[in-house]
């Protein structure tokens, strides 16, 4: 068996079910690793070692007595610190909520626990999922395990860094403008933004009601499918929840891709935001590889990234202002500077602009739907550059918006980011696949083919 920290969730679940690995043994190994690496990586806002070990002992007893809870029995999971876990703080990485303790689990957390997962702690984020990386907050920002001088992406920074370095096999993040897919891209792992409404947002601190999604971060495509199968499902108390039954997400993982049609959105990285040459070459390599596996690659044109980005920002800034206005009026000094600047922007957007963005949004949805009538999956860039140096604020400010993730928050289509290669500087490069509404199974099918061909699931950060 591999080192426990490099076991995938699927491997660990099988080993636990077969009694070849005990939940206590797994948790002990991971807590030792967390103790050694977290002081350098700052993945955790709050580590709940005691609670996690208690839960691991209970999980072990349940396995011994033949009462497994579900497919994630005994698996450690990290939770982004904007998502409620009963009895633990939800600070949103901010002084504003420094004393806030959650009374109940968010629905997604309750579903994970119901399936047997064990919460190991709360993870670093950009402040309120928007302001970061910042050095003026109560906790430092997480760092990239591939090179600690670099940003691990955000806003689900701790989720991405912790998965990549093997601190836990499963993590939850949230994605309003790319915040699951960005750390997945920067850390060389798999991050899924599901279809809007597929995963309940109840118990997740909002950033932008109509753009917010909750999604899994994992080291493999199969683990992403496994985790989505647990957290997906209608929640009648979440106004944005879709009344759609969860799918069989792992059903096509090993089916191959022969006969599928893939639309390659080259203009995103060729002309809209010209990508780093290594990123562009990696994307072409993904397309060639999938073509070699039997897919048909077609060129697709959508509105420009500039247009998508503007609509995303007008909606996000307006909705975020509606949430944060009271605190920004009374306690502006309790925000870090980045969050303060970004969250106040909505005060300067008119109601008419917000409605116009919604109207343009519907047209953009129609355009993407048209494209997906002719192809099964879209392929495009995620990040246009390798991750920036975390302390180079100007470089982070320049590269952070150079991405192709926001279009699919605007339209709500499912989108998955994963490793496309490794740069000459030793940092992950990324690719993004986009599917039809509730078409996550096909998305996983294509992503798995690329993972198998490139061996991305076997690439880990240098040993630390």
């Amino acid at each position: 068996m591999s080192d426990p920290h490099w076991l995938t969730a699927s491997e660990a679940a099988r080993a636990i079910a077969a009694r070849k690995l005990s939940p206590v043994e797994l948790m002990t190994a991971l807590l030792e690793r967390i103790g050694r690496l977290d002081p350098k990586l700052h993945v955790f806002i709050r580590l709940d070692a005691e609670g996690a070990m208690d839960a691991a002992r209970a999980a072990e007893a349940e396995i011994i007595s033949g009462r497994p809870r579900g497919p994630l029995h005994g698996l450690p999971v990290g939770i982004k610190d904007i998502i409620d876990v009963a009895g633990l703080p939800t600070t949103c990485h901010s002084k504003i909520l420094i004393d806030n303790t959650a009374a109940t689990d968010a629905v997604c957390v309750a579903r994970l626990r119901g399936a047997g997962a064990i919460v190991v702690g709360k993870l670093s984020t950009h402040e309120f999922a928007i302001g970061g990386p910042s050095f003026d907050l109560p906790w430092p920002p997480a760092r990239n395990p591939w090179n600690m001088d670099h940003h691990p992406g955000g806003s689900s920074s701790g989720s991405g860094a912790g998965i990549a370095v093997g601190l836990f096999p499963l993590a939850l993040g949230s994605d309003t403008g790319g915040s699951v897919r960005n750390p997945a891209s920067a850390c060389g792992i798999v991050g899924l933004k599901p279809t809007y409404g597929l995963v309940s947002r109840r118990g997740v601190f909002p950033l932008s009601f109509t753009l917010d999604h909750v999604g899994p971060l994992t080291r493999t495509v199969a683990d992403s499918a496994l985790m989505l199968g647990v957290i997906a499902g209608h929640d009648p108390l979440d106004p944005g929840s879709a009344a759609a039954p969860p799918g069989h997400y792992a059903s096509g993982l090993e089916r191959g891709v022969r006969g599928l049609r893939i639309g390659f959105i080259r203009h995103f990285h060729e002309t809209d935001l010209p990508a780093d040459p290594e990123v562009a070459a990696a994307l072409e390599n993904v397309a060639r590889t999938l073509q070699g596996a039997g897919t048909e690659i077609r060129n697709i044109r959508l509105p420009t990234l500039g247009e998508f980005g503007a609509v995303n920002r007008v909606i996000l800034q307006s909705e975020a202002w509606a949430i944060h206005g009271p605190w920004l009026r009374e306690r502006p000094g309790d925000y870090g500077q980045l969050a303060r600047r970004r969250l106040m922007a909505g005060a300067f957007i008119s109601a008419g602009d917000y409605v116009q963005a919604g109207r343009r949004r519907l047209e953009m949805i129609a355009t993407v739907e048209d494209a997906l009538r002719d192809v099964d999956v879209l392929l495009c860039a995620s990040a246009m550059d390798p991750p920036s140096r975390i302390e180079d604020a100007a470089e982070t400010e320049r590269t952070y918006p150079r991405q192709a993730r926001t279009p699919f928050n605007v339209t709500g289509h499912p989108a998955l980011a994963m490793m496309a290669g490794i740069s000459s500087g030793g940092l992950p490069l990324s690719v993004q696949f986009v599917g039809r509404y509730f078409g996550e199974a096909t998305l996983f099918q294509v992503a798995r083919e690329w993972e198998r061909a490139a061996g991305t699931d076997e690439k880990h950060p240098p040993v630390m």
Binding site: L328, R329, G333, R340, L343, M344, A345, D353, R360, E363
Partner: protein, 60 residues
């Protein structure tokens, strides 16, 4: 957006404290908002409605 307009809008939004303590951040926020709105294209169809729909049951 000129300084007087930014101050007017900020006060109208109740951001007096931020204006006093972090005037540069208020100006930066106004600039971000202005940039986003300026880059947004108007809908092409005058009958285009917004998403999410303005009627119940019209989601995904």
């Amino acid at each position: 957006m000129d300084k007087a307009t930014i101050e007017l809008l900020a006060r109208r939004a109740g951001l007096d404290k931020a204006l006093a303590e972090f005037p540069e951040d208020v100006a930066a926020a106004a600039e971000q908002a202005g940039g986003s709105v300026a880059r947004m294209k108007a809908p092409t169809d005058p009958r285009a409605e917004p998403w999410p729909p303005m009627r119940a049951g019209g989601g995904l």
